[in-house]
Every structure is written in C-alpha cells, then in structure tokens.
C-alpha cells in the first residue's frame, strides 16, 4: 500500500525490507537479549539519530496503531518531533503524547514512568548494542564471548568500579542479564529505568541501525541488572521532588534557572508530569 501523498510505501520501507526486519524481530524475541544481525537499510535520517528504532517501528506498525515518540522522556524534543512527523506523513497513523493511549512507543534514552501494559510495544533507539564493546573492540571476539556465555570480562568492569569508586559507577546504559542467558545493553536509558524492564508486560524491541542489530525482551521476561551480592543494584534517587507536579517517584531533569546557579528539578517524562497536573497535582 502506498500513501497517496508521499509516493512512498506505507511507513516508508518497502514490504520486502519489512519482512526481513520482522524475521529478525521474531528471532530476537525467540532468543531474548541476543543481538540478531540484520541488513539495515539507509533511512532518510542520519545514522545515530534513531534509524534502528525507525526501521523496527516501520516494520511492526499498522494503520490502527497509535504512536508515541519520545526523546529524553519528552514528546517535544526536536528529534522526537521529527520522527513522529515522519510516521504521521508516511504511514498516516494516529499519534499521541499519552503513554496510556499509545500502542507503540518509540524512545530514545527513557522508559515512561506510567507502568506499561500488555500489548504495548516499546521501541528503543540504540547507538552501541554491544555491552562488551568498551572492554573488547573486536566484534568477532564479543560474539564468541556471548556465544560461550563468557562474561568474566563484564564483571571485571563492575569490580573495578567498586574498587575505585565504592559503587558501580555506570549511571546509564547499565547492562542487564536477560532470561538468565545473554548480557544486554538496555540502550542509554538511566539506570533508574532498568527495573521497568524486568518482567515487563510490554514487548521491548531494540534497534541499532548503524550497527545493524536487533534484540528484544519479550513480555514478562526477567531482566536482571548486573551487580554483586554485597553491592546490590540500586537505581538513582533524588532528595527533591518535581517542582511542577510534586512527583517523588519520577526521573528528574535539572534545569539551570539563572547565572546565579539557581536550579530546579522537573520530571523528565513530560506526559507523566502533565497528566499529574491535570489531575490536580501541585502547580507553582
């Protein structure tokens, strides 16, 4: 099906490419956390700007879907706007900023605060899919390490963090072990969001366009953040609450107010903040 307006196929990609990507997604779902190579296509956005997520979304989206796109937790950041309008134009689907109403949520760097539901699909944009990449530059070698479940190297990194800093110093892109088998990069979400991946009712799909890898966490699959028994994983926490809605349970962005070093903390998830305000949360 071609949309009249653009001359491009529904959701831009041709059906052959979509089929190829769907096959990779099915394989990824069957092997939770395993990075499936796929023949990524050039998209009309630059690599590194979400081409992996866009290809995944283009392959799973249908005319009845409702799409939400966020970047840094917000629907209004420029890249989120750009991707949302791309699908509105090429697929003509309905879009929303409300987490509860979306059937597909494409994201960069955040998972919404509102708990996800069964039937929702999260699509992540992934820059570097390989959690071992900073420790081992060779792709041939890291694939072998995954194949043999040889993860001593990953723990060397965590050990070093503790002996140097007294804590595991990864604040985002914090690796998880999926289904007790593969170690996986959750993409650069803050570790605050990691617990949302564990046994989530939603399907989580990760697309790395430049590196040409797709991986997945199927619904209700355990995703354990790596840690030591005596140094358990802990997400970030704040002493402040959101200055707008008063939320004490959300990830906060720090906003610089003036040259005097005045700061305020507000929800990074703009939909969460807005819906709390609608329901009569605190305003200033």
């Amino acid at each position: 099906m071609t949309t009249e307006e653009t001359g491009y196929n529904f959701a831009y990609l041709d059906e052959d490419s979509k089929r190829m990507i769907r096959r990779a997604i099915l394989k990824a779902v069957a092997l939770p956390g395993y990075q499936v190579p796929f023949a990524g296509r050039e998209m009309p956005m630059p690599y590194g700007w979400g081409t992996g997520g866009i290809q995944v979304t283009a392959s799973v989206i249908g005319p009845d879907d409702v799409l939400k796109v966020i970047d840094q937790g917000s629907d209004d950041t420029t890249n989120a706007v750009s991707i949302r309008s791309f699908f509105a134009k090429t697929a003509g689907v309905a879009t929303t900023s409300r987490t509860a109403e979306a059937s597909i949520i494409q994201t960069r760097h955040r998972i919404p605060e509102r708990p996800l539901k069964s039937g929702q699909i999260m699509v992540y944009q992934v820059p570097i899919p390989e959690p071992l990449r900073w420790l081992e530059p060779s792709e041939a070698e890291t694939r072998t390490l995954h194949a043999l479940k040889e993860y001593g190297l990953m723990y060397v990194k965590l050990y070093e963090d503790i002996s140097r800093h007294g804590t595991i110093a990864s604040s985002y892109d914090y690796p998880v072990e999926v289904f007790g088998r593969h170690i996986m990069s959750p993409s650069p979400i803050p570790r605050f969001d990691n617990p949302k991946l564990d046994r989530s009712p939603a399907l989580h799909l990760f697309g790395a366009g430049r590196e040409k890898r797709i991986y997945a966490i199927p619904p209700y699959t355990p995703a354990r953040s790596l840690d030591f028994e005596d140094y358990p994983f802990a997400p970030q926490s704040w002493s402040q609450v959101c200055a707008l809605c008063g939320a004490a349970d959300s990830y906060l962005d720090e906003v610089v107010m003036d040259d005097g070093g005045q700061r305020m903390f507000v929800c990074s998830d703009s939909d969460y903040c807005a819906s709390r305000l609608e329901k009569g949360g605190r305003t200033q």
């Binding site: 023949a39 630059p46 690599y47 590194g48 209004d76 420029t78 604040s171 570790r191 990830y251």
Partner: protein, 435 residues
C-alpha cells in the same frame, strides 16, 4: 512557571526554510541547473554516484545541488533514496575488458597491445589557478569547433562582462549528447575481480522511471584499437595468481546481514562505496608501512561499459545503457608460502564514473585486506577487515559522529548525579581519615 522545551515542530520548519534560503544564495543570480552540475561538476557527480552506490547522474546532480555542494550530505541523500527503490534483479557482470576506453595507462609496461592512452587527466597539469576560468565563457557551439578554433583566438571567446553569466544554460556537447529516457541503473557495485578479462559489477535497475543520461556511443566514433587487459601478459606466463570465477553467487552487503570474516566480494562491495578520504588514508598508510603493500599499477582504465540485464520474461540479455566506470588493477609481489610458489598477486578497484584516486586506493586496500588469506603479518589498520569494514562508510560515520548534537539531558543528568555522589563519598572518606 517553567515551560519545557516546546515548539520543536515550528523550529524544525524554520530551520529548513533558512537552509533553503542559504542554498539559493543571492536571488539576483540565476539558479544553477542540474545540467550544469552534471556537465561542469562531473567529478563531484561521479563521487556522489560511487559512494551513494547508485548510477544515476541526474539524481546525483540533484543531490549535489540540494546538499549545497556538501558531497557527504549528497551521498547520504542518494543512498537514502536508493534504499527505497524496489529492485527487479541483478545485471550481468560488466565486461570491463570490452570497455569503450577513454583513458588507459599501465605503470608496468612501457607499451602494450592497445597502447597507452592518456585521455582526460589532471596528472600532468600544473596546479596553477587558471584565472581565465574566473570569467564566464561564451557558450561554445560544440567541442569540435572549439578545438579547431582553439589556436585561433581563444582570448576572444572569453565573455567580456565578468560576473554576468549567460542567461541560457551552456549546451552539452552537441552531436554527442542524446540523453535517452532509459531506466537509471543503480548499482550496488558488487565488484568481483574475476579471472581476466571480465570483471563483474552486478547492477540492478529500479522500476522508477528516472531520466538517466545513458549516452550511446557517438555515431562518428573513431574505431579504437582492441584494448585487452594488461594483466593477460602475466597470466600467460603463469606469473600472476590465478583468479577464477568459482560460480558462487556473491553476497550483497546491502541486502544480507554480514558476519566476519567477510569474503572478498563483500569487502570489495564495501570498498566501492567507502569514503574516498578514508580509502585514501588507508591506502597511504599501507604504502608507508602500516601493512606492506608495494603495488604496481598494472592498468588503470576509464571509459564506458555496457550494462546488460536478462529480463525473466525474455530470457536473453538486453542492454540497459552505458555506464562510465574507472577500473584499477594492481600487481604485488608475493614470495610464496606453503605450497604456493612466488607469484604476483592482485588488488582490484572499480568505481562508477571517473574516480581514479578512489579506484587506485580501493585496489591497494583490497590487496592489503588479503593479508590473512595470503598468510602475511597483520600490522596495520588497512589489513584489518573489521576495522576497515566498520569505519569506511561515510553515511554511517557522519551520522554517528553528528548524533552527539542530539540532546543527552537524561544521560548527562545521570552522570551529574553520579559525580556528585562520588565526590560526596570521597569527602566523607577524607573526613573519616582525619578523625
């Protein structure tokens, strides 16, 4: 009340409009035409086609115009539209030995069958700015007439009023230029060096009805001498490693996921579309000793080759058009090892259009990447296929490097909190030490 960054949509639109304005430049000047770009900035168009992996001079010219001369951006534009073209098949291997040669040189033989043919080249030009070009020339009637008149009065043909360009576009070579309405031939340059004389470049054509400038041979074509490959001399003597078509269908790096190690056809496909600057740096590094390739240019040829395709419903080849290409074959010494006697080995380069520097670099890097196969010590990046493959594509590289312009508020916030926490812990430790 604090308002989060809003109005992204409006800002994006405004940015686009500003960029359009910059592209058009001073509105009192005439807008540059695609024909002008194609004819007068031909090497830019050729590079965009080569790295954009699509043989479509008009689309490439459009990309150059739209990108305001930023070739990496133009390559990206061409790649992105190429990805959306449906494909109806692969062309037959292009027979480069049967090329209509415009330029052909050999660095290994002083003279050889077919002769040395200098053709158009910058090689022997003194690199002095030619101030005559600063003034706009009067449109010429035709190349031939210009040439005959050249000795007569070249000065007179200069437009006296500099800065006031002709209002009509400069016509193309009269007589020769009969642009045919043929299908564009986007090729995923799957160059496979085969045993003499055919090299194959698998090409496919899209169903889109783009006007291509596939130019048929001029009617009054001088009959050129037969121009066999310079390599054939060495092959007859058995001094050159034998490379034969093993009949295997080459993979297609744009359609199938790749897995290391890559085989040679896959590596060549990657090199054919690799960034010219990257290929140049790799070739140079290899020549300087980071990897040891001491190549001789057996032959460099540039000209037009026929692209043929067998439609399923016909069952016999039809000519889709002619394609300009540059091919480079190098020979390298190899001292032998194991069962192999000392023999010359080859490097192979093939690109769309006139792209001599690129074809040469491609051949050098191709040979360097065969280090493992030939049991050579791997000591430079040009010999490391994972390094070369993963970093050679400028669409990938430019995208990833530029993505750090995107907001990273969340990750930065995470790092900020972490740093504060670590510093606080350190302060407490220090205090503890003092007690």
């Amino acid at each position: 009340m604090y308002v989060a960054v809003k109005g992204g949509e409006k800002a994006i639109d405004a940015a686009r409009r500003l960029m359009d304005k910059r592209r058009r430049g001073a509105p009192e000047l005439p807008e540059i035409s695609l024909e002008q770009i194609r004819e007068q900035l031909g090497l830019a168009v050729d590079r965009v086609m080569a790295e954009g992996s699509l043989y479509a001079p008009e689309l490439a010219a459009l990309a150059v115009k739209q990108a305001q001369g930023d070739l990496v951006e133009a390559i990206f534009l061409l790649r992105a539209s190429r990805a959306a073209f449906p494909r109806f098949g692969y062309s037959l291997p292009v027979d480069t030995a049967a090329m209509r040669v415009e330029r052909r040189i050999s660095g290994t033989w002083k003279d050889l069958p077919g002769g040395q043919l200098l053709g158009p080249t910058f090689d022997y030009a003194h690199r002095l700015l030619d101030y005559r070009l600063a003034r706009t020339q009067k449109p010429e009637k035709s190349v031939e007439s210009a040439e005959s008149a050249e000795s007569a009065k070249s000065a007179e043909s200069a437009e006296p009023e500099a800065g006031k360009p002709p209002s009509t576009p400069v016509p193309t070579h009269a007589g020769a230029a009969v642009p045919t309405h043929a299908a564009a031939v986007p090729t995923h340059a799957a160059a496979v060096p085969a045993h003499a004389p055919t090299a194959s470049a698998a090409a496919h054509a899209p169903t889109s009805t783009t006007t291509a400038s596939a130019t048929p041979p001029p009617a009054d074509e001088e009959s050129l001498p037969d121009c066999p490959k310079a390599m054939s001399v060495l092959i007859e003597e058995g001094l050159l490693e034998l490379e034969e078509d093993d009949g295997r269908e080459p993979g297609d790096i744009t359609r199938q996921p790749v897995d290391f190690p890559l085989d040679r056809p896959e590596r060549l496909q990657n090199l054919a579309r690799s960034d010219e600057g990257f290929a140049l740096a790799l070739a140079y590094s290899s020549q300087r000793g980071f990897g040891s390739v001491h190549p001789f240019v057996s032959e460099l040829r540039q000209g037009a080759a026929l692209v043929e395709f067998i439609p399923e419903e016909l069952g016999f080849p039809v000519v889709l058009g002619e394609m300009e290409a540059t091919e480079c074959e190098t020979v390298n010494q190899f001292k032998g090892g194991g069962e192999t006697p000392p023999v010359f080995t080859r490097g192979y380069g093939l690109t769309f259009g006139r792209n001599e520097r690129k074809a040469l670099c491609m051949a050098i890097v191709d040979r360097a990447l065969r280090a493992e196969e030939l049991g050579e010590e791997i000591k430079g990046p040009a010999q490391n296929q994972e390094f070369v493959f993963s970093h050679s594509d400028n669409v990938e590289a430019a995208g990833f490097v530029s993505h750090i312009k995107l907001p990273h508020y969340v990750d930065f916030q995470a790092e900020l909190s972490m740093l504060r926490q670590l510093r606080k812990a350190k302060q407490n430790d220090d205090r503890g030490d003092r007690i």
